[in-house]
């Protein structure tokens, strides 16, 4: 399959705008589930406002949240796809900048030392572009995630040791949720990375935090941990916006990787309630948009 990079650029632009305006159905269902279960009056009011905002954004064709986030593009390349990686990255970057200038969007990206904002949502290494491969033939998938800073600022890594066992992981997750309080815009998706190297562990946490609700870790031990930690963090009472209640997290998601015999790393990355993502799938028959 040949790739038309002008279409990739268009898709990169379109994906950013779609992600900012329409929440995926699994997140909407997550809200409905939390609202049905919530017992605290103040938290019920907060959830109702969040749900109302989702429909206001759709009705007014507006952004769900003012935070345009750090733009992240996850590219998955199937078999038999003829790719020029440099052209692909350039097209994504150009599409991201065009969304920012043409809509226009707030550019939330600055140089880390000078704090200069180019007003394009782009900078050194940003948009973040991850490339991976899949076994699906004749398919190119691009997932776009505008990662909000309120939740991203609450990211944590602990290089625990083997003697501390899985208890270190459980305790760390609970303490991260406590430390984050209302700053992450709960209810959140708590992403937990376990194992790997330090950098892989943090990347796994991000992958977990941005996974669709209702999906589970492919490892059965990881799935078990997801279930017990989801119940645990919601028993803390932090609640939506940190104002108290049962709905602290939609779910805890775990992603794991093998690690070294001397290591026991755990990382936490959170996704705010505006758990935005959009997806474009390129096949020989054209481009299809979804979540």
């Amino acid at each position: 399959m040949k790739i038309d990079y002008r279409l990739v650029e268009e898709a990169a632009k379109e994906l950013y705008l779609r992600a900012l305006k329409v929440l995926p159905p699994d997140v909407k269902e997550g809200f409905a589930r939390l609202a049905a279960q919530e017992t605290t009056p103040i938290a019920q009011r907060v959830l109702a406002t969040m749900i109302k905002n989702i429909s206001v954004a759709e009705d007014t064709d507006n952004l769900l949240c003012q935070d345009t986030g750090v733009p992240i593009y996850n590219v998955s390349i199937g078999t038999n796809v003829d790719i020029d990686g440099i052209a692909l990255k350039r097209a994504i970057r150009d599409g991201c900048a065009r969304a920012t200038v043409e809509h226009p969007l707030r550019s939330s990206i600055v140089h880390p030392l000078t704090r200069k904002n180019d007003q394009t949502s782009c900078g050194v290494e940003v948009p973040v572009i991850h490339v991976d491969w899949s076994e699906t033939p004749d398919t190119l998938e691009i997932e776009m995630i505008p990662k909000g800073s309120g939740s991203e600022n609450n990211s944590f890594l602990k290089m625990a040791i083997p003697a501390e066992g899985v208890d270190a992981i459980r305790t760390f997750v609970v303490d991260c949720v406590l430390a984050a309080g209302g700053k992450t815009c709960p209810p959140t998706i708590v992403g937990v990375g376990i194992g790997g190297t330090s950098d892989l562990c943090v990347a796994l946490a991000k992958r977990a935090a941005t996974r669709a609700l209702g999906t589970h870790c492919s490892d059965p031990e990881g799935t078990k941990l997801e279930t017990e930690l989801s119940a645990a963090v919601n028993a803390l009472g932090v609640g939506p916006q940190g104002l108290g209640g049962d709905s602290t997290a939609f779910a805890v998601h775990v992603e794991l990787a093998a690690t070294h015999i001397t290591m026991n790393p755990v990382a936490v990355n959170m996704q705010c309630h505006s758990a935005r993502r959009a997806r474009a799938t390129f096949t020989p028959s054209g481009v299809a948009y979804g979540f």
Binding site: L63, P104, V174, G181, A235, L236, G237, P240, Q241
Partner: protein
């Protein structure tokens, strides 16, 4: 739990009448500022021409569109999406906002900390919680961008919004030492041991 309809500037007496769990709807004028705005105001010696005495400020950096100046857009900007950012990063600016500029109301999400609560008590101020991440809704409460200062910091300029029915907002920190965030934080911390026990974690 009373509801107040407020049109700033407001007096110390007005602000001290507000208690946690009350709700407030703002009318007329609201100022927007953020990290860079306050770093420049308080760390780099810049000043604003705006009179903030008795006013409300919101922790924000909006999405705006540059347009021709007109009666509808006197500052040359149309609001696209105006929301609220996490307040905690701006904790140390609460006191100078109040002592140097006379601000009475801070609107944000996620809450502020001890020194802000002390400043509210000593000087007469409140923190009003808005629901973070609900900017599409919030934008419907903004009538226009009346003016802008320190605009080289865009989007973290000092914005002057004209608002209509901005709220309801929740009084989450008051001038009597009350903080809903402290109540929730202490309660959550108290539940920690039990939650860890439910996970089968051996006590430290």
């Amino acid at each position: 739990m009373a509801h107040f309809d407020l049109t700033p500037p407001i007096s110390e007496a007005h602000v001290r009448a507000l208690k946690i769990n009350d709700t407030v709807t703002l009318q007329s004028t609201l100022f927007g500022l953020r990290d860079a705005t306050q770093i420049h105001l308080f760390d780099r010696g810049r000043r604003t021409r705006f009179d903030l005495r008795g006013h409300a400020v919101i922790h924000t950096a909006p999405n705006v569109k540059p347009v021709e100046k007109s009666a509808a857009h006197p500052a040359g900007y149309a609001p696209i999406c105006v929301g609220t950012t996490t307040s905690d990063r701006m904790e140390r600016f609460t006191r100078p906002l109040m002592t140097q500029y006379g601000v009475r109301i801070i609107i944000g999400k996620g809450g502020l900390r001890e020194d802000s609560l002390a400043a509210f008590r000593e000087l007469g101020g409140v923190y009003l919680a808005i629901i973070g991440g609900t900017a599409a809704l919030e934008t419907t409460w903004i009538e226009q961008i009346e003016d802008v200062d320190l605009d080289d910091l865009n989007p973290e300029s000092l914005w002057k919004f004209r608002v209509c029915g901005f709220g309801p907002l929740l009084v989450a920190m008051d001038s009597h030492g009350g903080s809903l965030y402290d109540v929730v934080r202490n309660d959550a911390q108290a539940r920690r041991a039990q939650v860890l026990q439910s996970l089968g974690v051996k006590p430290e």
